[in-house]
Amino acid sequence: MFRVAIPTARCRRAIAAAGACRAPLTIAATGISPRGRTSVHWIKLAELPGCAGRSRRSRIHAMQTSGNNTRNVTSDQWAGVAPGEIEDPRIWSELLRQYTTLHPESRSCHASSNSPSRRSDHDRRGDQGARYRPAPAQERARRNRLRGAGGGGLGRTPFIGKTIKPFVHGHNLLSYVEAILRVYNQ
C-alpha cells in the first residue's frame, strides 16, 4: 500500500495531484480516507519510485506502508512544515519503518504496528487516539528527546494512548520500540 498525505485545506488541488500520481499506474485501487490521505493499494514496486516523485513535485508527501512493520499510518500531511514542530518527524518514521520491515518481532504480530509521528506538543491530528500499538515518538522539550506512549487506538475499541516513559533519547528509539514489541510477543 502507498499512502499519499493530502492537506485537507488544499483538498481539491491536492486530490487532483494525488490522482495525477496514480494515473500512470498499471494496477492500483485508490481510496480517499477521512484522515487526510489517499491510499493506493496493490501498487507495483517498480512503479513506486515514480509515484513518490510525482507526489513530491505536487508538494505532497507519500510513503510505502505495506507489510508487518512499525510505521506512520497517520501520514500527517503537514509533517515537516507544521508550526511548532522541532524537527521533521518523517525521518523517525522512515527509520522505524525500515528497521521493523521483515523484523521477526514485527512478523509475529497479527497485524502491523502503527505509529503516528508527531514532533510537537500540539496534537493537531488527534494522534493520541490514533490506531497505534507501540507509539514511540513525540517531541518533548528539545530535539532527540522522545516520549514513549502506547495503548491508543481508534477502530472498534477506541483508547487514548498512555505515557509509558516520559523521556527516551532519540538514539534509543529502536531498542525501545523493540522492547515494546518483545513484551507484546512474550
Binding site: 497479527h110 502506547g150 525501545y176
Partner: protein, 43 residues
C-alpha cells in the same frame, strides 16, 4: 502477553488495558534495560 485468539483484540491497546499502564510500563522497562546498550543504539 498479547492476545492471539481474536485478531480484533491482538492490539497493544488491549494488552495495556488488561495489564494496566503501570505493569505494562514495568515490563517494557525491564525488557529495555537488557537491550539498552545493544547494537540498536544509534549515534
Amino acid at each position: 502477553m498479547g492476545r492471539r485468539d481474536n485478531i480484533y483484540k491482538a492490539r497493544i491497546k488491549i494488552l495495556v488495558h488488561e495489564l494496566g499502564i503501570e505493569k505494562f510500563a514495568r515490563e517494557v522497562e525491564d525488557e529495555w534495560l537488557q537491550m539498552r546498550d545493544s547494537a540498536l543504539t544509534t549515534r
